[in-house]
Symmetry: C2
Subunit: 346 residues, 2 copies
């Protein structure tokens, strides 16, 4: 069913509307904390689940059925579009992704292939079509990809990119090659998000998981121009776009300038403090500390309530966690959180 | 040789004096990037090197001899004082520290033993005496330990504490036990730093490597009071104390309130921006991105120059990296950096 922009609380808040009860969804809401997810994953590897539209559709819908979230996010991974560029990615259980042949030279950057998402990522677009057909009209569907800098981190490092010596070595050591890499990834990301929107995504999100390691000055110099191009292309389609940077408290001024519609915030600072820098033209998404859901009922309720209260004020607010929900989270903690958020629902 | 507080540029800057050329030392300046360090480490494990005063003394002095840094930092590890509390720590090569029996219950927290540093950490104090006897009078000697929250992170998680689910689960789930843990670690840290000062340390530094994962509100509620007690005890001895929090850009107001003499900053924001929050009563230490030292000469010089310039202004500045020097750093890059910093030396 097509989304109804009036019925969708997520879309209304993303466009800046203040709502008494904020819309809510959770990063990684389809995931290992859900028994129905684990049951499906017994039959499919992570990558197979991403690449099989019926399975991706089922996993996307599971948390909507159970919790009635206001938005569904495509079951996928931020690194999925790297494979058609030529990077072979493996996801081991219990460890991060591994890229067999890391991209570290100008020659390797040049050799990265352009992506035609309607061909090589057709399985994603088919999943989106199936999900959209199944979702109720008031639930928005979010498409996403990794942001260029974060994709570059995995490509250059070849795996979990701590301490980022190779990535930042390239950034400081061969600026033209590094810019070329971000440009290629930025073009791919914009094409990919456009194709997702065409397939039925109502909104998109860029995950810049590693942007927080950048000095504000470098973020402005190398990352900001690439992000501005992507968000300009998405905005031309009149679709809200969220930018999420983990540990990006020092980048709020730059984030405001990306042109994103919604700033996704981690748990480190109160929404009210972020609002003073971001202003009221950018909606806020967040920002419950995911580990609060490991605490007792009183703490879960108090923290959820605090964030609803801090989210009031000028501009829209979408309730979310500050980072992905942890696999050890009890399902009952999510129920408590939602009960607290929705208390004032008419 | 005893330090001469007038000759020591480090001590003068730490006490707030502006100098044309800032004093400089590097976090992890004794380490794997130095061939003379690697030669010693062929004969001693990391822990044996920490626990043998002659070896710790030699490793502490190596970078002073080679580079003429303005401060020497004791060769040791932030986790060293956990062993006498009852936590068995192992340092594997190429992986982080592992604690065999993590501390996760109120009962285990109660069972942590008080530490008499002059007895169970006598090897550290003997190293300090030996180092101080060998150091020239103008070079300050810095003693250090992990800050309580960071020590708690390792104790509770049992190893590299990402994603901190157990630590923060305890913090949100059993606040009294968590406070008791921080209090015990805080008392130990203050006793330990006092003993180091008595043995000859001219200054101390608390490393709060993981404080940056805390929401500002939680930092204020649980971490700040413990830090204030430690810094009050050190200040009573008239010795400058540095507080270093990695990724703590959202905590600057709280850091100002800790009572530290010097705020150690990572590379994420310019010193000038930190100064606007910290004011001129706290000296600044930092903040070159360690990966800059992997870049070409022009970048190293430009970034070092920028930081010297940004460090000018009211209050003291001690040049340092924003985090520990990386093992892959070329020794020649450190020479270039120092040459640039010391250009204006009379």
């Amino acid at each position: 069913m097509n989304t109804d922009p009036v019925q969708s609380k997520y879309l209304r808040a993303a466009r800046g509307e203040r709502l008494t009860v904020p819309p809510v969804w959770l990063m990684r809401q389809a995931g290992r904390y859900l028994p129905e997810y684990l049951a499906v994953r017994e039959r499919y590897s992570f990558l197979d689940a991403c690449r099989t539209p019926e399975v991706a559709c089922e996993l996307t819908l599971q948390p909507i059925r159970r919790f009635g979230f206001d938005a569904a996010i495509l079951f996928s991974d931020i690194l999925i579009p790297l494979a058609p560029m030529g990077a072979e990615i493996a996801f081991g259980e219990g460890q991060g992704p591994v890229i067999a042949d890391p991209v570290r030279s100008a020659g390797q950057i040049e050799a990265l292939r352009p992506v035609q998402p309607r061909e090589s990522l057709a399985f994603v677009l088919e999943a989106i079509r199936q999900i959209r057909a199944e979702l109720p009209a008031h639930v928005a569907l979010i498409g996403f990809t990794g942001a260029p800098f974060t994709l570059a981190a995995y490509l250059v490092e070849g795996g979990k990119p701590d301490p980022f010596a190779r990535l930042k070595g390239l950034m400081y050591g061969d600026r033209p090659a590094f810019r070329r890499l971000l440009d290629k990834l930025g073009g791919m990301a914009a094409d990919y998000l456009e194709a997702m929107i065409e397939a039925g995504a109502d909104a998109v999100q860029l995950f810049d998981t590693w942007a927080g390691i950048l000095p504000a000055r470098e973020f402005r110099a190398v990352n900001l121009p690439v992000l501005q191009k992507i968000f300009a292309r998405v905005k031309a389609l009149n679709v809200p776009a969220t930018y999420y940077a983990l540990a990006g408290m020092h980048l709020l001024e730059e984030i405001r300038e990306t042109g994103c519609s919604v700033a996704g915030l981690d748990w480190r600072i109160p929404l009210s403090r972020a609002r003073t820098v971001l202003g009221d033209r950018t909606a806020l998404q967040g920002n419950l500390d995911p580990t609060v859901l490991l605490g007792p009922e009183a703490v879960i309720r108090a923290e959820a309530r605090r964030i609803v209260d801090e989210g009031r004020g000028p501009g829209g607010h979408i309730f979310n966690l500050g980072h992905g929900i942890l696999p050890v989270t009890p399902v009952s903690a999510v129920d408590l959180m939602l009960d607290e958020i929705r208390r004032e629902e008419p």
